[in-house]
Assembly symmetry: C2
Homo-oligomer: 143 residues x 2
């Protein structure tokens, strides 16, 4: 553990895992639309969204991706680590009322570079909605 | 143009480009923290953030990435397209008050698969803060 209660690179082991979950509400979609300026009708207009392949409003993919940022920054590796990169594959839509679980699992640890590759998956009721990988620059107990 | 005023795959050409810009304020950081549950102290606690390598609070990387979602979903290719994937490399921090410009530039068009690869770059005062690539499933004027 580092001074901020995050994991140092030396504390990480392949397979280690942590999750956060949150219900994505209408309020989240409205707020994210304002923050991002992404006001696409498929997120905000139910009458229009009903006419699309989704059959109703869906949340922004990048909103659910925010939960990945949360599990990485707050849980594993946690505070003190620096977010270097992320890949995201959007596999299925998230709808208002869905509870998204973001899970981070350590895939690779490169101690000498203080770098960890973390598999990142978001699910709704067990179904994968986003998958990808994060690259984190970690703290070290050697300073 | 498709029925929603987005570009069909047949309208896209390599090099075509569009941008959106937004000033990232304290309000955005607070709202994004609530929406994402990412309440890391480096985003919310100025006294703490001053002690880090960043020297003060920074915005969530995924908040600026929201502007990429906006330029893709609202401008190029625009409404009607489906976001399939995104890579993100976080190159430099974004601070409260910074104006982020997200630019999408068409890199590759695969008409038969209705798929476009779009280069996505976020800058602050001309400096790259995020770079990466989006994969979009586009509409077609052939239905």
């Amino acid at each position: 553990m580092n001074a901020q209660n995050g994991y140092d690179i030396e504390d990480l082991a392949v397979g280690q895992s942590a999750s956060v979950s949150k219900t994505i509400t209408d309020a989240d979609i409205v707020l994210f639309s304002g923050v991002s300026t992404d006001t696409n009708a498929v997120h905000l207009n139910e009458e229009f969204a009903k006419t699309t392949m989704f059959g109703g409003r869906i949340a922004h993919g990048m909103l659910s991706a925010g939960l990945i940022s949360a599990v990485l920054g707050n849980r594993l590796p946690g505070p003190g680590t620096i977010y270097m990169g992320q890949t995201l594959k959007f596999k299925a839509p998230v709808r208002p009322g869905d509870t998204v679980t973001a899970t981070a699992t350590v895939k690779e640890v490169v101690v000498e570079k203080k770098r960890a590759i973390i598999e990142t998956v978001c699910t709704v009721a067990g179904k994968v909605v986003i998958e990808g990988e994060a690259t984190m620059l970690c703290t070290s107990n050697k300073g």
